[in-house]
Amino acid sequence: MLFSSIYFIYYFLPILLALYFIAPDKYRNTVMLIFSLIFYSWGEPVYVFLMIFSAIFNYSMAIDIHRDSSTGRGGRGTFIFTVVVNLFILGFFKYYGFLMDTVNGILGTDIKYTALALPIGISFYTFQALSYIVDVYRQKVGVQKNLLDFTLYLALFPQLIAGPVVQYKDIEDQLHNRTITLSEFGIGAERFILGLGKKVLLANNFGAVYSYVSSLSSDDQSVAGLWIGAFAFTLQIYFDFSGYSDMAIGLGKMFGFTFVENFNYPYISKSITEFWRRWHISLSSWFRDYLYLPLGGNRVRVSRHIINLLIVWALTGMWHGASWNFIIWGMYYGILLILEKYLWGDRINTLSPRIQSFYTMFFVVIGWVIFSSDSLNEVIGSLQGMFFLSGKSLINSSALYLIRTNLVLFAIGILASTPEVIKQYKTLISRNKVIALIMLMLVLVLSTAYLVYSSYNPFLYFRF
């Protein structure tokens, strides 16, 4: 089920809210879990069993790891077994097809295989389970003895499908001890509506521009058109994913949960290093805590540090999808971060803020070209086109049409990707709550209208 769907907003959510607040405190987790499973099984009637298996398996193994650690037996064997099984499940669904394609490609064979649908959210809930298992093994968190609470941690519907990647230590207390005030409920609802607006009013419209550019035949493409398409995807993916995160965080708040922030205006960054401190924060934190630091982080020799960064970023790319373009995208950022750290980072810091922003956005946009492409040939073709290497004209009638019809949209998008819009909105709230409320309702009504008349528009990050 999508947050940005009429069914979710006007049926599922109101019914859940009513039942949740009617239910006595001790049954609220049960209500939440039942609805989370319904939410998931809406799109995944079979894979809901995989998620339940994952919950029972990790819950049970964590108890064994904790028991073995407490009795001095270490629990290392069970820990390794649990990590391997989790990674095997993720690998089977996510990378099996990619592996077979690669084998067929390298060996020139034609081994037939069945490409399975990727269970929605598997990358997110597997990482959450792994964070719990690692923390139990390291004795950083207590073991969860209530299966219902643990399953709720994995299946909690606001963050189940596309994060944020919630670490157990951040939510442990909230699983059985949370309070909801009317004010916090309101803040949550406001955040949800703003996220919905980002997705439906901005991301989907930028998506339409990007689709238009992508579908142009080679003859109809121009350098300007390709750059417009790349900018459109840059804004689409930001509003799509940060919109989803806003909705998830807002929904969590409405039910008394506080999730970690996932975005902090990444497009105002002054360096690539800063960009990754502001983009998909929960995933970066996961890789930092459970891979980068255990590998030694930056407290090692330079050569080892470079290898650590390349490993982390190759795996970050792979996490996004079973495709070479994602691995290259990850490595691209790994190399850029290494260059900033060891080669030109200090020089970047001395440049003017405008040039720093230009430098960052230039590489970020190129990164999204790699990310959004279906194949390496497409990446190369797009980049050649964008940099005058394939004989395309600077601008043509298609590009002029795009500029004419989408100038306002781009202006709104660029402004909305900075803190300025929210700053102005908050100023308005402090002065006149009624106008702010009307604006919020307007976003909800407009988003609903768009949803009624538009077709299925899944979130980009659903496929991860």
Partner: protein
């Protein structure tokens, strides 16, 4: 050790079930079509009737639960989308053979003077998911496949 073995047995039994079932939901092609027609790749194509399906793909629509067939009507374009909802999996081979034949015949037509068309045909996306067979020739068949996969 016993507990771990039980977990592994359950896991592998589930994976075997999913792998063999294809895990596709039983959804009408009408609802799938609604999602697909919004895609830019499909907007260059037109919906074809049963006669055209028979003419171009050599399949009879009445043999299957449902068929969705879109095709670019321009003579020099090879874009087409075919989704067949099978009555049962034994029909998979018939459809796959028809698709293979269609691609081969199209390549034969364009070979020599339509390198872009031939490249698109060679890059056709074909896969089975549950009771569905998906075939798409377009500039970005993966994008169309993604919409289809999301829709079912």
């Amino acid at each position: 050790m016993l507990k771990k073995t039980i977990f592994l047995v359950i896991l592998f039994a589930f994976l075997a079930f999913v792998y063999n079932s294809g895990n596709a939901k039983d959804i009408s092609l009408k609802s799938v079509e609604k999602s697909l027609v919004a895609n830019e790749q499909i907007q260059v194509m037109e919906k074809c009737n049963d006669r055209q399906l028979n003419q171009f793909i050599k399949l009879s629509a009445s043999s299957f639960s449902e068929v969705l067939y879109y095709k670019n009507q321009e003579a020099l374009r090879v874009d087409e989308l075919l989704i067949v909802k099978l009555k049962d999996k034994s029909q998979t081979q018939i459809v796959n053979d028809a698709i293979d034949e269609r691609i081969a015949s199209q390549i034969k037509i364009f070979d020599g003077y339509g390198p872009e068309q031939v490249a698109q045909l060679k890059n056709a996306k074909i896969f089975n998911k549950g009771n569905y067979v998906f075939f798409c020739v377009s500039k970005k068949p993966d994008k169309v496949a993604e919409v289809f996969k999301n829709a079912i």
